[in-house]
């Protein structure tokens, strides 16, 4: 709770500090707020205190674990995006504030105990992102992305509300524990209201995480949005959505697991294939990232499908590794700064900027799941947990990993290749200090984080 307030207030502060037209001040406030938020989140959980009595949010171990990496990812995104914020000093405060508000929503989505807090959290998470997606007003694609995201998002919200209403109709409660109890008590004799409500909520979740066939928005939106927004969506928004997904489906609707798990399995397979196959022929980097994220959603869905005490940790580990790879790659893309955002612009990166190229390779290989990088361990945890219950699902996931390696390695080769001799040489990219720090953190995490996950 304290963390939520601290982060919100630091967002407000950055909003007002923007009047000073000193971007570094805003950055400082935001970073301080994020760090303070992280610390308070942890200490509050550790020492079990809270200064007001409230209803609707509960910061348990799950929320704290996911919340901490949400804060960490936001911090990385803010740091890496600072160089692009700086170009428009009058808006730095607005952008950073919106990102922080969105993080507030994410925290809310990780800790809700009520359906309406969940709904509020989802909206707080989404609305700033609708705006941020369109924040590059010079680019028509950015506006288009914003509008598309907003329209499809509004539809999904409608579906979600519809579903919550059905659930209320079926169980007469908004509280998660009451719904859980109701479902367990009335084993086998549920009214169809609950099933339909569940499916509606499922659809909304699938939309939010970007699973087939609710994924169509994501390539367009990822592609159109400014880089940092893409990074934020891939890391933090996805994390919030998955956290809530797990809370509702692995806990609240656990009693109906036999009902929804097969449907979700089929959709997970569909998601993997759609993401992978579409990614094969992409030429724009963020689009590729979008499809790759769709594929990874397919893998991550396994943790929700599998009912196990370790599922939450596996999901956490998976998102943790995925977030670092994505933020690292997005940072690299920002450094490359290609107008058209072509994958081709990565060619010869390692010769121009060895360290940046190295991080790009690490990120790509981690996404592909190559040991000993973090992505491998994330995947390994997820797959090894699932293999006893759903061997065929894991088999398909592994086939997809194989397909995925194709386009990741293609990019790795690009990064390693020489530039064409007949074209003018791309000059060495300048790397601001903050982005260097982000790159270093990502590289360290990708290289050594995996071992931490195992132990």
């Amino acid at each position: 709770m304290v963390a939520l307030i601290v982060i919100f207030i630091s967002g407000l502060l950055s909003l007002f500090l923007a009047f000073a037209k000193k971007p570094w001040l805003v950055l400082l406030t935001a970073s301080a707020g994020l760090i303070a938020g992280g610390i308070s989140l942890f200490t509050q959980f550790y020492y079990q205190y809270d200064f007001i009595h409230y209803e609707g949010l509960k910061f348990d171990g799950f929320a704290v674990a996911f919340g901490l990496i949400a804060i960490l990812f936001t911090l990385l995104v803010v740091l890496t995006g600072y160089s692009s914020f700086k170009d428009k000093p009058q808006h730095t405060g607005d952008y950073i504030a919106l990102l922080l508000f969105s993080l507030t929503g994410a925290l809310c989505m990780l800790s809700f105990t009520d359906m309406f807090m969940f709904f509020l959290g989802l909206e707080i998470l989404s609305i700033p992102i609708y705006v941020m997606a369109g924040s590059n007003k010079d680019d028509v694609r950015s506006s288009e992305a914003s509008l598309k995201y907003f329209m499809t998002g509004a539809f999904a919200t409608g579906v979600l509300l519809f579903g919550i209403a059905w659930i209320y109709g079926g169980t007469a409660s908004f509280k998660l524990d009451e719904i859980t109890a109701f479902i367990y008590n009335a084993e086998g004799t549920h009214s169809s209201l609950i099933y339909i409500g569940l499916l509606m909520i499922l659809s909304a979740f699938l939309f939010k995480v970007g699973a087939a066939p609710f994924h169509f928005w994501s390539p367009d939106v990822y592609d159109g949005s400014p880089h940092i927004v893409t990074g934020f969506m891939a890391a933090v928004v996805k994390l919030g959505a998955f956290g809530a997904f797990m809370k509702i489906f692995s806990v609240t609707f656990a009693g109906l697991h036999d009902f929804w798990a097969p449907a979700l399995s089929v959709l997970a397979i569909l998601t993997m294939f759609v993401g992978n196959l579409s990614a094969l022929k992409q030429i724009r980097f963020k689009r590729l990232l979008a499809y790759s994220s769709i594929t990874h959603v397919g893998y991550a869905l396994l943790t929700i499908i599998v009912q196990s005490p370790d599922s939450a940790f596996n999901l956490w580990a998976y998102i943790f590794s995925y977030g670092f790879s994505t933020i690292g790659l997005i940072t690299v893309a920002i450094i490359i700064h290609d107008e058209e955002d072509r994958i081709e612009a990565f060619r010869g990166l390692v010769r121009r900027n060895p360290f940046t190229g190295f991080v790009a390779i690490l990120g790509l290989l981690s996404l592909a799941g190559v040991p000993p990088l973090m992505g491998f361990f994330g995947k390994f945890l997820v797959f090894s947990e699932a293999i006893t219950q759903y061997p065929w699902l894991v088999a398909i996931a592994i086939i997809n990993s194989g397909i995925g390696i194709f386009y990741y390695l293609r990019m790795v080769i690009l990064v390693l290749q020489k530039e064409d001799d007949d074209k003018p040489k791309t000059p060495r990219h300048k790397v601001p200090v903050l982005q260097m720090i982000v790159l270093a953190i990502c590289a360290l995490a990708l290289l050594f984080g995996g071992n931490m996950l195992i132990f």
């Binding site: 949010l57 504030a97 919106l98 609305i127 609708y130 010079d138 169809s192 339909i196």
Partner: protein
């Protein structure tokens, strides 16, 4: 069938009919007018459920403020047949088919659903402003305050999107 039920059925039918007209009427201004009608009818439904406050707020906010805004926008845009975005026949058929399918399966799924027995009789004063206020500022203060975050985010966003950039003007 009691008189209350008859009123509820008629009101429900009217609401659905008017909502259908929003989608079906070819002229945008008429659509908006039908939408206003729909909101009034929904408010009627609220009153039937003894939720007077919500009914009033619904009329003030949606039918009053938002719809007037919609009308202004439509008039400013000056939509006519010529610059109306064309949607292809294929799209229309597909949309009709999908909507129909959704309706059909929903009905099929819900036709024999069990409605929970009413566990507690609603008090007469439940939906009144005073009681609602009591609840909002005590038990549900956190969601209430959370919604303020939502609004401030939305406001900042709206300003950010709507404001013209100085560079563009220059």
């Amino acid at each position: 069938m009691s008189s209350l039920e008859i009123i509820a059925t008629v009101l429900g039918g009217l609401t659905i009919g008017s909502a259908l007209m929003v989608v079906l009427s070819p002229h945008p201004v008429r659509s908006v007018l039908y939408l206003i009608l729909t909101f009034f009818l929904i408010s009627g439904n609220y009153i039937l459920m003894n939720a007077q406050f919500i009914a009033v707020v619904n009329i003030i906010v949606y039918a009053g403020a938002i719809m007037v805004l919609f009308l202004f926008v439509l008039m400013l845009l000056n939509l006519s047949k010529d610059n109306e975005p064309k949607s292809s026949i294929k799209m229309k058929i597909a949309a009709t088919f999908a909507g129909g399918a959704l309706l059909t399966v929903l009905i099929a799924a819900l036709k024999d659903s069990v409605i929970l027995p009413k566990t507690e009789m609603l008090e007469n004063q439940q939906g009144m402003v005073e009681n609602l206020g009591q609840l909002l500022f005590t038990k549900y203060v956190l969601p209430f305050e959370m919604s303020s975050i939502l609004f401030i985010a939305a406001m900042v966003g709206a300003v950010l999107l709507a404001k013209r950039e100085k560079q563009i003007i220059e």
